[in-house]
């Protein structure tokens, strides 16, 4: 079969690009351990308020873990608990969140923290808050009539 020289060039280019992109996903998942925010951790959505750590939402210092703080959020129609929280700059934080009723979103605007909160599932994201400032948390999954008023705030302070 005759293949034009140019066709060979772009076939090699295309296949190489595909392999590079697939390797990036593989390295990210299997070497760096990246996973979806909601990964197999479950909870009874009717008993969120009495289940640890969601019985005490907010920022907590923890010892002996890969992260320094745990930041717990409970979402419900149409608010987040806590409604505002302060985080020291440079802290490595595991954000842990779930919902008591319907599906909510959890997007910290301008950051990589962007999770879907599903009833019955716990969503988690580990990150280092290394830029001071105020960060708005918004619901980006339509959850009902008060959806647009559902927000919270993270203040990263020096």
């Amino acid at each position: 079969m005759h293949i034009h020289k140019f066709e060979k060039i772009w076939l090699i280019f295309g296949i190489t690009t595909l392999l590079v992109f697939l390797s990036v996903i593989g390295v990210s998942a299997f070497y760096l351990g990246n996973q979806p925010p909601s990964c197999l951790a479950t909870i009874n959505p009717e008993k969120v308020d009495t289940t640890a750590p969601f019985d005490k939402p907010g920022l907590k210092k923890v010892e002996g873990k890969e992260w320094d703080y745990e930041l717990v959020f409970v979402a419900s129609a149409f608010a987040y608990n806590p409604g505002q929280v302060e985080v020291p700059k440079g802290a490595k934080v595991k954000v842990i969140a779930t919902t008591k009723d319907v599906i909510h979103g959890f997007e910290v605007a301008g950051t990589n923290i962007n999770m879907m909160l599903e009833p019955g599932f716990i969503s988690e994201y580990v990150t280092t808050f290394d830029k001071a400032g105020e960060y708005l948390i918004v619901c980006n999954e339509y959850c009902g009539v008060g959806h647009h008023m559902m927000s919270s705030k993270i203040e990263v302070v020096e």
């Binding site: 140019f6 772009w10 301008g110």
Partner: protein, 49 residues
């Protein structure tokens, strides 16, 4: 004086049908566009926390 059309020579350039230069250029333009946008989004991801 009227000139007869017949016998007049016309020069029409015929491109080589098997030339793929334009196709190669378009493929690489698209390819580099995809790579540049992908890398751009990746660095945005790295820059944010």
């Amino acid at each position: 004086m009227a000139q007869p059309g017949i016998g007049k020579k016309t020069n029409t350039k015929v491109e080589d049908q098997s030339s793929l230069k334009g196709t190669l250029a378009s493929v690489f333009l698209l390819g580099f566009f995809l790579i540049i946008t992908w890398v751009g989004v990746y660095f945005l991801f790295l820059d944010r926390f």
